[in-house]
């Protein structure tokens, strides 16, 4: 233990050095695949042969492989092993784990709200003495740093991030790459003018199994954020603003009139269509729709992987509705926390926040780095989105994910009913207010 503590400053120095060396952008991003050779210095001081770190996350398949590729250099350098388990049910596992005390060393956390709960329960360990906070804060997008804090301490770090609220289009129909609509009204007028053979303005698909409705909640979140601003946005998910307030009602009206009303196949089709394939009509002939709203991770799903970024699809940021909030960005990401402060767990945590580590996943694709210095993006679109996260003046986290679980679920299923045309906006808002009265209390 004493040895580990003695080494901590050295480790921090290693981090700084590693950060400095990787700060100089490599001449040809994307060409160097596989673990970077410079991963060694930041981790090499620890000899943890034979030790292991248990990690639980939500990643499976390609994402799991990417994470394992990311930790491989650390395993090689320290001799320790990472035992990773992927599950979609992380909320249940951690909630019961905090109650019973059976927890992994490191885990992906469902969101900042749960992170604060686990921290308050004493289950989650503070990272203030684990990471070199000054370096971490200087390297990491400021919005992400504050999302990982509770009671003034850092409890969570972002392994990777994604940007929500991107508008995808097919440049083959009309190329918005260099003249993206700046405002919502521009988007509607330009969209109508350039619609051409496309059958509708929007592609919309909100089916997602037990989580059906979330793509619609993302829509509402974007409209609230850009119409009413981050303060209203944060009051709203915290339960301090009624659903039936003018700000939220306004967002619901924009969604129903300008989105569902102008969507391919209408609301019922949106409810019947999986979010995974919702964007595919961008690539049909004639196109089903002109625009598709989804987070950056969509490039790995549906028909997108079979298409070429830049020529077959491209994206622009969500246009401004109220100019005061033009620079607001909704991000999401995989928040990571530590439940057991073993030397190996601490060492892995220090490694994961480095640019070297995060660049491994960035190069594989489908992830944006939380570390400003990790910028080996495979294409220009990812690179632009990466800088959106790094430079966002106002960064907020997914609102529905931060609501109490019962509120979140009611929001999802109400959006399904509303989009399907089964209920009116009035009914939706009064239902949600009724759920809020119950959900925020407990």
């Amino acid at each position: 233990m004493t040895r580990a503590r003695y080494l901590a400053p050295l480790m921090a120095l290693g981090l700084v050095l590693a950060a400095c060396t990787s700060a100089s952008p490599s001449a040809s991003p994307g060409t160097s695949s596989g673990p970077s050779a410079s991963a060694g210095p930041s981790t090499g001081e620890d000899d943890l042969t034979g030790q292991s770190v248990t990690v639980i996350g939500t990643w499976g398949d390609a994402e799991e492989e990417a994470f394992l590729a990311m930790v491989k250099p650390w395993e090689d350098a320290t001799g320790a092993t990472v035992k990773y388990t992927g599950t979609r049910d992380i909320n249940t596992i951690l909630t019961t784990g905090v109650a019973s005390g059976v927890l992994p060393d490191l885990a992906g956390l469902p969101g900042p709200g749960q992170m604060a709960e686990y921290a308050a329960a004493g289950a989650l360990k503070s990272l203030d003495d684990v990471l070199d906070i000054a370096t971490y804060e200087s390297e990491t997008a400021s919005g992400l740093v504050s999302l990982g804090q509770a009671d003034g301490s850092t409890f969570g770090v972002f392994i990777k991030a994604s940007v929500k609220g991107l508008i995808w289009f097919n440049p083959g129909l009309y190329d918005y790459t260099d003249n993206a609509p700046a405002t919502w009204d521009d988007l509607l007028t330009q969209g109508a003018a350039n619609q051409g053979s496309a059958q509708a303005l929007w592609c919309l698909g909100i089916e997602s199994g037990a989580a059906s409705g979330w793509p619609a909640t993302d829509w509402i979140e974007q409209i609230v954020l850009h119409q009413a601003g981050p303060d209203v946005y944060n009051q709203w998910w915290a339960g301090d603003l009624a659903w039936d307030s003018p700000e939220i009602r306004g967002a619901f009206e924009v969604y129903m009139n300008d989105v569902v009303g102008k969507s391919f196949g209408g609301g019922t089709n949106a409810v019947a269509t999986s979010f995974l394939t919702a964007g595919d009509p961008l690539f049909t002939s004639p196109q089903g729709c002109e625009f598709f709203h989804q987070a950056s991770f969509i490039t790995g799903l549906g028909d997108f992987p079979n298409r070429t970024a830049g020529t077959d699809y491209n994206a622009f940021p969500f246009p401004s509705i109220n100019d005061a909030y033009a620079n607001a960005v909704e991000g999401a990401g995989d928040l990571f926390g530590m439940f057991h402060d073993t030397p190996a767990a601490k060492s892995l945590m220090r490694y994961l926040v480095t640019a070297d580590a995060q660049n491994i996943w960035v190069r594989i694709g489908g992830a944006l780095s939380a570390n400003k210095n990790a910028s080996d993006y495979p294409d220009d679109i990812s690179s632009t989105m990466g800088s959106m996260v790094a430079n966002a003046e106002m960064l907020v986290f997914d609102a529905s994910d931060q609501m109490p679980a019962a509120m979140n679920e009611a929001f999802w299923s109400t959006m399904v009913s509303l989009t399907n045309g089964s209920i009116t906006i009035d009914k939706a808002l009064s239902d949600l207010d009724a759920v809020a009265a119950d959900a925020y209390g407990s």
Partner: protein, 325 residues
């Protein structure tokens, strides 16, 4: 050697070993008693492990659930009947309750009715076993897989687009527009679409049991009726049906319990959205999504209370049948 291999060997050798050891042990204990007491004690000793398991895994959790249903979300305070009051005043819960009633009534009527019809009809044809096998096969499909299969069957695309769902493709072929089976709420159409899936699965079960009962009817009875000039409908109405009633009752109660427990199909196909929710899905949500064990327990108790009378009826029916034999 691989740990798993060792575990496998321990289980394969150990479990029968323990069982044989238990029987041997009870005989050793029985030797302590007089010869006259032995026959009275032996059954209880043999039942003891089963009773122990029932106690630990059924009775204890049931009592625990009832107690928990009177507590708050965190399980720290008693809140009386507040969780039950919530259940019977919440819109979603009442809608789920209404849907369960639809499930109980229509799943039972459809499966038993169609099962009876098929078993009576195929009783007279040469290819009976083939026809019965085809209808029985869906029961072997897991409910989640059935849900996924039928999601494809019901798949909806907007009018004018190529319909990839089997049913909507068929509707298109006869010139009708597509129907959003799982999204349409008029007359609870989406709930009936889900009930149809379970009917597809469980008709085979009803058919097999009813068919077996049909075979056990004495052919001389039917022959005598026909000799006396009864037509086929009168034979069915006056002889076959009354003799099948006890069997129909047992099949119906089984299906009713299945309908009350309906979860998998709803979860995989609509996840309870658009007013298709059922009590079991509501319970899962309260427990695992919202962490409200108090309300989840209250729902479990309501479900238990609904099932108990049916179970009692089933047992009584079973006993009276045994008595006849």
């Amino acid at each position: 050697m691989d740990d798993r291999l060792i575990t496998a060997i321990v289980v394969v050798v150990g479990v029968p070993g323990v069982l044989v050891g238990y029987i041997w042990g009870t005989e050793q204990v029985l030797r302590l008693f007089g010869g006259r007491m032995q026959p009275r004690i032996r059954p209880w000793l043999w039942l003891l492990p089963a009773l122990g398991f029932l106690g630990v895994f059924l009775v204890y959790p049931t009592i625990g659930t009832i107690i928990r249903s009177l507590q708050d979300k965190a399980g720290t305070e008693f809140v009386g009947l507040a969780n039950y009051a919530w259940f019977f005043s919440n819109d979603n819960a009442l809608s789920a309750l209404k849907n369960n009633v639809l499930w109980v009534v229509f799943l039972t009527v459809f499966t038993v009715g169609i099962g009876l019809l098929i078993s009576v009809l195929v009783d007279r044809v040469r290819y009976e076993s083939v026809a019965k096998s085809v209808i029985f096969v869906p029961l072997a499909v897991s409910m989640v897989a059935a849900g996924v299969i039928w999601k494809f069957m019901y798949e909806y695309r907007p009018p004018g687009e190529p319909q990839i769902g089997t049913l909507n493709a068929a509707l298109g072929a006869v010139g009708t527009g597509p129907v959003a089976f799982l999204q349409a709420q008029d007359f609870s159409m989406n709930t009936f679409a889900l009930i149809a899936v379970m009917t597809w699965m469980w008709t085979g079960f009803a058919m097999v049991i009813i068919s077996a009962a049909l075979k056990s009817i004495n052919p001389e009875l039917l022959e005598a009726a026909r000799m006396d000039g009864a037509n086929e409908w009168q034979v069915f109405r006056g002889i076959i049906f009354p003799l099948l009633v006890p069997t129909l009752a047992v099949v119906s109660t089984t299906i009713v319990i299945t309908a009350l427990k309906a979860f998998d199909v709803v979860y995989t196909m609509t996840s309870g959205n658009l007013e298709t929710d059922v009590i079991a899905n509501l319970m899962i949500k309260q427990m695992f999504s919202f962490g409200d064990f108090g309300r989840a327990s209250a729902i479990a108790v309501v479900l238990l209370l609904a099932i108990v009378p049916i179970m009692l009826f089933n047992i009584r029916q079973f006993r009276s049948q045994e008595a006849v034999r």
